[in-house]
Amino acid sequence: MVTQTTEPVATPTEPAAAPKKASHVRVSTAQAVYIIWYRDVLRYGRDRTRLVTSLAQPLLYLLIFGVGLSSSIGRGALGGSGAPSSFSYIQFMYPGIIGMAVLFTAIFSAMSVVWDREFGFMREILVAPISRSAVALGKALGGATQATIQGLVMLVFAPIIGVHLSVISVIEVIPLLFVLAFSLSCFGVAVSARMRTMQGFQVMMNFLMMPMFFLSGSLFPLSGLPAWMTVLTRFDPVAYGIAPVRSAVLGGTGLPQPFVDRVAAVTIGGHAVPLLLDVAILLAFGMVMLGVAMRSFRHRD
């Protein structure tokens, strides 16, 4: 009872007991990107229900919207004169819905940045001796991977829609979906890096994501619109992602190529934007957003 002695709890001060030098080396930026990406993909793979449920919304659009409008619009009504009579609205809409799956997944996976912040894991990442830019890029690539997979899963519905995909069109679609997914993922991370709460992110995203979806040409052709809407659609980066995907998906169906080009392409001043320019515009948008995201990460806490 008397003694709370000053017995020092065996403080190792001798060199022999000194902490052994850590044998680790600092990870490179590329490794750091990979680690951040790997965790997001690991979580995505674990969450099987998410893969299934996130298909529900695009399917709902495709089946209800698509079937409903196909019936009322009628065949051959899209694409002006020379439209093949076999071409229906649902076939037009199908590539747009693939794009929608990519858009929604890319944005929602960026929510993990806000989620990580709210549940504390972001601190583990931010105090680690890795570059903050690598964190932003890893997050963007993680979201892009998930969104690309979600988009590709949508391809299984092609036979039901009456779109016959060739191997070549599938091979074309993969990189095109990835570019779209990556750019939108960068955008999502740029927004989420500045958001403090989940609610804030959701409100923000509804204000941005839904207009981006509606103006992208997913649901209707971007030609013959009122002037104001034409301008808005040309400023929607998603439009430059949907156009090449639509061209690739419909290209393998046996529809005449000039018709496919006409119905798919975004026109600026009457000229159709070529595929490479579509990709370039999309990537430029993605890069700017990635820059914004990296900046936010670097200047955080």
Binding site: V9, H24, R43, E124, V127, D301
Partner: protein, 338 residues
Amino acid sequence: MATVAALSSQPDPTVDAAIAVAGLVKRYDKVTAVAGIDLEVARGEIFGFLGPNGAGKSTTIAILCTLVKATEGSASVAGIDVARHPDDVRARIGLVFQDPSLDAQLTARENLTFHAMVYGVPRSERRERIDRVLAMVELTDRADAVVMTFSGGMKRRLEVARGILHAPEVLFLDEPTQGLDPQTRARLWDHLRDIRQATGLTIFMTTHYMEEAEWCDRIAIIDQGRIVALGTPDELKSQVGGDVIVLQTDDNARANGEIAARLGVTAVVDGETLRIEVADGAAFVPRLITALSMPVKTVTVRRPSLDDVFLKLTGRAIREGDADGMQSFMRAFAARRG
């Protein structure tokens, strides 16, 4: 024992300190969170930062962890300047936050694997090191369970395991046992001391639990951005006037006279007992008993607590800051106040 030097001892500049802080100041717009702190922590020491929230301890730890930049002064951790080489410092420190920072959807092992990868632990060593730290905190059997299923105490233990996984030189713990029940808290402390024993790790922690501060080798009491006292728990408590000895004999009046004559200290008659304040009660009791000519009926030695020390030094009880104490230090400095 260099690390438990007397209060007046000056830090030896030749010692390769784990943490060295000189003239540290952190000012936010109008608030001075840290008002000039000098500090040296030896390697292998368990050092406690004690004070209410808002005292500046959270800001100081954030500066040492390179999460916040100091306004003035310098700080080095593991011999590296925190302002000039923050990434090198981060690679050499472990951090355990007050709030959980685990990925609840991953397993314990996956959380540790992520950490090992980020800190560059070579692949060949990962598995063995992860197994070792899991064993240290007795979580081996839960290694492959998803963290979501863990109790609060298990999560904290896992965070400690993660904090030491990359063999850091200094482990920072911010209110490590906040919100844990006393049993879990004591167990976590056992783990921490075992780890220190095994690895020679330096531990720097903040707390506002007095009981916890007692487990540290040395404590700095911080108030309003300044260190108001620094020393071993016993040294700090001796500032209050040492121990209180309560004595009961058959003849207290005569005993009082003998104590004054033979031991040179003044006892106070307090009812049926005599109270004596001495610097070192444990050493005084044998002298006291031999000095007295009459049999002693009872003798007790009561030691002042750190609560008494804090109260004496600051004029306030430490618990006043409790409402703020619920905040984590990350949130605390996000709100621009340490």
